[in-house]
Amino acid sequence: MMPRLFKFTILAICALSVSACLPAKQFYWGSYEESLFSRQQHAGAGGEGEAATMLLATINEAQANNGKVGPGIHADYGYLLFKQGKADEAIAELQKESALYPESKPLMEIMVSRIHGRKDKEKEKKPAP
């Protein structure tokens, strides 16, 4: 452990050197970018599953900390859920993105309608009982 005075001095120097240019965070990011990196490093279902877990944790943490989930996080989580075959949960996440960030609405609506379309197709495929 560093001596306290030393630590304090370093922090004070830092504070002075950047005085007021440290930006405040607008959004809660959690491990969003790490989840992207994890997918980049481990392509396929394994990396995607891991990323989905990280995104869900990020969304829960944001709620617990009263932070606003960063743009793209609900959408990305929804996309991963869709890839895992969880259509209804996917749609719920995409709609959350759309409600939180109206800029995403056109894309989210297209995705939701595609997922609905695919669900209908799968229903047709199933043999009649």
Partner: protein, 222 residues
Amino acid sequence: MRLFSCVVVACTALWLSGCVTQPPKPDYTNFFDHQPRSILVVPPANKTTAVDAPAVFLTTVSAAFAERGYYVFPVFLVQDILNDLGATDEGAIAAIPPEKFKEVFGTDSILYVTITDWSTSYIVIASNIIVGAEYRLVDAGTGAVLWTGKQKVIHESGGGGGGGGLIGALVAAAVNAAITATTVQYRPIAIQANNLAASQSGYGLPAGTYHPEFKKDREQFK
């Protein structure tokens, strides 16, 4: 302890960046004429020989630009949709007209990144990790260039005797004295480059709609 090192590293970076000679400021006329709310980051183009650079770089852009107050589309989802449309390499992506992005994604602007540096240089026992990139933000409605930026971050990654005095020595001690930079070591430097590119006063992006300084920071950008 982690927070402490974060703060030290972050402000050292900011402090050092203040010493660099500044290029001329960008022209913000087009930007304010077409103030975007949303940014779509396309997979970066690559001028370096590091094949994995674009894929890794793409995981470091979102927060840096969104924190300026913009909606940034999820980068991997965008990449997958572009792949579906047949745009699988930088040439094909560059050939897509900006209006097409508006039509498919509903975005206001497109951020094109070209990676110019992604390397490790060796100076006797010390090594420098260098990440550099050029940025071009284009209006999706008209194709007008809204903003351009350039950033290069050189990070001393070990060895003794490097400059920077007390703080430099601290940072050097905090970073593993590894000689070969791995992907994992490039990422934080890329994040730093993106943060600087996006938020440097007078050079970065003016505050967007999600930022408390929206419309109040015009003096910095002219």
